[in-house]
Symmetry: D3
Subunit: 138 residues, 6 copies
Amino acid sequence: MIQLTRRYQFSASHRLHSADLSEAENERIFGKCNNPYGHGHNYEVEVTVKGEVDRATGCVVNLSDLDTLVGEQVVGPFDHRNLNEEIAEFQHLVPTTENLGMVIDRRLREAWPRVFPGAAPKLERVRILETPRNIFEI
Amino acid sequence: MIQLTRRYQFSASHRLHSADLSEAENERIFGKCNNPYGHGHNYEVEVTVKGEVDRATGCVVNLSDLDTLVGEQVVGPFDHRNLNEEIAEFQHLVPTTENLGMVIDRRLREAWPRVFPGAAPKLERVRILETPRNIFEI
Amino acid sequence: MIQLTRRYQFSASHRLHSADLSEAENERIFGKCNNPYGHGHNYEVEVTVKGEVDRATGCVVNLSDLDTLVGEQVVGPFDHRNLNEEIAEFQHLVPTTENLGMVIDRRLREAWPRVFPGAAPKLERVRILETPRNIFEI
Amino acid sequence: MIQLTRRYQFSASHRLHSADLSEAENERIFGKCNNPYGHGHNYEVEVTVKGEVDRATGCVVNLSDLDTLVGEQVVGPFDHRNLNEEIAEFQHLVPTTENLGMVIDRRLREAWPRVFPGAAPKLERVRILETPRNIFEI
Amino acid sequence: MIQLTRRYQFSASHRLHSADLSEAENERIFGKCNNPYGHGHNYEVEVTVKGEVDRATGCVVNLSDLDTLVGEQVVGPFDHRNLNEEIAEFQHLVPTTENLGMVIDRRLREAWPRVFPGAAPKLERVRILETPRNIFEI
Amino acid sequence: MIQLTRRYQFSASHRLHSADLSEAENERIFGKCNNPYGHGHNYEVEVTVKGEVDRATGCVVNLSDLDTLVGEQVVGPFDHRNLNEEIAEFQHLVPTTENLGMVIDRRLREAWPRVFPGAAPKLERVRILETPRNIFEI
């Protein structure tokens, strides 16, 4: 068994604000991230795949299939987007990087069996970097 | 003479859209950067100072003064902000990273003599990284 | 459950020398690190926190609390210090990066419950980079 | 118990081509990596060692021994080499980075007990980066 | 006037060997880089463009045009290639990174006026990194 | 003409303290860098060489000669050393990174003609990074 981690990048904006909290609480908890006009980041996503190395090809996964999947589920819909305004999951969910990572993880897990059925490599882990200092692992 | 380059970081959102262009032109020129809801980046700013090394202190510039200046003029006002909505200069200027770099350069040059008067070190150069792949030098 | 890893930085000096070893052994084992005048590094510390994402805030941990804790226990006392001369734990312990990592881990674990009591996020792991080539995980 | 990860670097060339596949399959699966003249990479190898910290030395492993071992088994034989033409294991094995990582892992595990016998630190993990975007863990 | 530097990446193999030198000289001068089977690198190319910022678009250059040009002249022909065997310029020229940088510079300068005619931005500088430690500027 | 920049690394400790200043001034100007026990850094030095590419070898400089020179003048004497206590130049000079860069520049310029006489490549520039955020160019 071997693991491949492949890195992807997208740039997006967001605002941290929860409908379940009062204005004062939102401001206290999220501070400058609660700024009503939003801000943004260059996010890096690391997708880790685990499987056996195919004897004939010497590969653990078809990279082109992986890129297509991550492109369709993550980079395509999220790149150069406002997470609050344009992503369905964040209509009722604060787009913290914790939640963003979990949304990416769920999207990839749901689409995975269609692209990699049966004994194919498994999705082992999703990590997301908000900045080089803040790294989240689902 | 010696040069010191010090790096700063801020995260902000923007939308590329010019009032001087038609909707079709805006879309053709800016592509996904024209998305009306905006997107964002982790910007890195490199401020280069040039001067003589002080014989007693062995320093070219007082770093604490430099940090205060860049904090007041750049990181403070721009971090976790929407450049289009919250920065005066971008009310009538497209917030491309080219223009953002020139605004930062102008702000630092205007405030410079108040903090570093007379024979003090000069502001040599401003560079700004939009992503690790796109670097602008004013 | 989700993990957040946050990176911190400090610069310090040390000398590798063990009172339990002869001069010859100290020199043989530590080589140039045994230099009596010491040397130094820019250390990077990665603190990994594990917990559930709070439904209201979308966060796994209050970053400001985490920064305060790491600042008080690690960055404050260690930054711009000589580990051998100024840190209590290294009065009778060689300040290798292995031991430095274990001291940081112990300090954070002891202070943790005061800042993050009860069902709060757990300290999952401490890592420390001596140089980009030498990485220690406790 | 503590883990040390140490990074090594070598540059090599390879061609992805499997004798078990037809020309058409080779081309379809490996694409531009199947180019008969080969191409190359700057590979980075991370070797992770796990063990107890020695009370006298404060070290988990003798770095000079580790460097000698990795130099003899990996960096020496692979640096500035053509993996297909000059490395015994790749005479009948496609030199994908998956297989390269497994060859490195096997070489280190076989030589390990000669250098680190008995209760010495264990080889915990080998990772190899083909590019900063593609990371393999054995 | 402003400068934009944009980074590109390609992986290729080469062998340092000069037909103007004897075997002994080739071996003495190029050492392990003279290995007849070749080796390879992940090259990074930085293309710096200089020009005025367009008042309407706020841009110094159309990035899509620049990417097309660099793709056609450099990344397309060089990526996953053997420089000695597959690139016309290196049939009678040693493919050191010095010469590789000059070939890239010449290709871009020759094609430049077709893509960026007249008052358009100028090609200011080409840099190429063979490894993170070895950087060449033309 | 072409430029080659090659990067070197060393780790050292220092204390910022000037005999020309009072204790109070030393403390005010250097702050925590004035700590009597010192601290340290992983320094990175970039040496830039400028010259013509040799027609036969395709190289601007013999890297092995350059490495020997920088090893003898900089990395050898400075690595794992205390700059204040062990380096002649800092007996009467504050070892700020500004002064450290100038000392390195002077050492390399003085030794240069012995290694690279006549029409050989010139030493174009020395840069030194104290941390990734603080970069000095002589």
